[in-house]
Symmetry: C2
Subunit: 339 residues, 2 copies
Amino acid sequence: MPVATQGTVKALTPRQVEETGSQIVLSNTYHLMLRPGAERVASLGGLHRLMAWDHPILTDSGGFQVASLASRRRVEDGGVTFRSHIDGSLHELTPERAVAIQELLGSDIAMVLDECVLYPASQERAREAAARSLRWARSSLEAHRRPDQALYGIVQGGVFTDLRRDNARALVELGFDGYGIGGLAVGEPTELTREMTELTVEELPPDRPRYLMGSGTPFDIVEAVARGVDLFDCVLPTRNARNGTLFTSNGKLAIKNARFTDDSSPIDPDCSCYTCRHFSRAYVRHLFMAREMTAATLNTIHNLTFYQGLVARLRKAILEDRFPSERRELVDRLSGAST
Amino acid sequence: MPVATQGTVKALTPRQVEETGSQIVLSNTYHLMLRPGAERVASLGGLHRLMAWDHPILTDSGGFQVASLASRRRVEDGGVTFRSHIDGSLHELTPERAVAIQELLGSDIAMVLDECVLYPASQERAREAAARSLRWARSSLEAHRRPDQALYGIVQGGVFTDLRRDNARALVELGFDGYGIGGLAVGEPTELTREMTELTVEELPPDRPRYLMGSGTPFDIVEAVARGVDLFDCVLPTRNARNGTLFTSNGKLAIKNARFTDDSSPIDPDCSCYTCRHFSRAYVRHLFMAREMTAATLNTIHNLTFYQGLVARLRKAILEDRFPSERRELVDRLSGAST
């Protein structure tokens, strides 16, 4: 899922997002509740209509942004109070309010409010947060009303095997439409992310989508799919695009590098996105150096197309029962030297 | 002509520019000679190919930007030396070099190097610049080689009737493919712009395009067309778009205005651009307030579509022999109160 934090994938129109092969986008409840406001979005016809996106939208619960962006945050059993990073205004997010906001936004998939602890955290701290997240998950389920909206639970438990297993089992017992794997890719070593992903997935029902939240690099995605993950969101393709870092079938490429000054080839000769069909590295580099917004647009189109191409390839390999060989080939390529 | 200063209409892809109804864009020789460089553009296949724009391009000569952007400028009979506003490097622009650069860029219409004097200027100063511009026009004509590129002369003479008439006549005697009307819209009162435009056009051959350089507001365009002008370029629609000022059939609109916060109507109900077909004022305002680049894209699409719609309307009225009534109606609307 490309990230449409404030109701738009940065630098793209929805039509351009569609053309990258994206079928669903993620929007951030935290940002939208502060601006333009959930009630306002609802009165304007809901988020789909507001942003003219006729495909699925997943909204997060706001919990992670509250933890990473808001100031003077205070978590209690009932919920979390915080001050807006925009104007310092005071807000409260409870499990019930997070559900209500997402129902107002009208996303297709809503996430329960959870408490995400960053790495490293003590086992005691992780246990407390996992327990609170579980209570909040129950409250969310009870508060949820919209029959046209799925609600996903989120597994917490830090990097502690037993905590994570217990949390996953208890969550599955409550019964959600899908499951987020939370509290990973928050600073821990990659090996630990994979181990925790694997053991969490083992506890989740195979007929429900499993969503690894906030991950990751192309390599991370291949490895998570290998462990049974179905759904991802990450700012990496869009943020890197704006910073001039481009993903290609032969590794990453920093477009500002002087060796692209006269390079008439496309960003990725294997790519058939609008950018690669029409423009050279030399041109994209020129726009980037000249600080033209069009550079962000063209780069974002390319990076999202690359990510969607990657997961499309993985999907196809799974359906054709040849995932292991596809994984080996991709890992060889993706871990190769940068272009 | 939308302005594509550095080889892109800011915030748009060429496909989006096409969809605004634009048939030709203007690019700036001054910017492109400094970055990425004319020889580089040529070796990359020319400007059309570089920016993937398969329609006409007009390039200016660089003279105006040298006068307004470069530092330590020194004008002599042979040409002008200046320092780049990007890195302070020393450059020279002669009539011959300006032609050579534009031939390297491969634009469809090239402009002669001229010396533009800003308002107010003494008659002596205006006379000197007009005489020098005329000599440069002759040198440009002699230097010009590409048979697939038109070369336009530029009428100077400030706001002095005799100077302008004499300059126009001498230029027409040299014989160009079209004529720019330069040195106007540089600070003088609107009435004077119109008067000078009118008397300049009177001296120009009716079968050659007349191009009023760097103008103007929608109202200015209607009034210039009434005086016989065929071609315009202006940063107003694109720059205003990025600043949140939108043109509508009922006047201008500042999208950041709080009264649009809950406004579900399109920017201009009479407009059928991509932006107006899909998005509300409330959404565009939200993106603008949240500093999303997508706001610049959507606003630019709208403003350029508005400008192209205006000139399409004027063209049609001329062809149907009802320009005077169309002019009256447009002037009434455009001079009305802002929305």
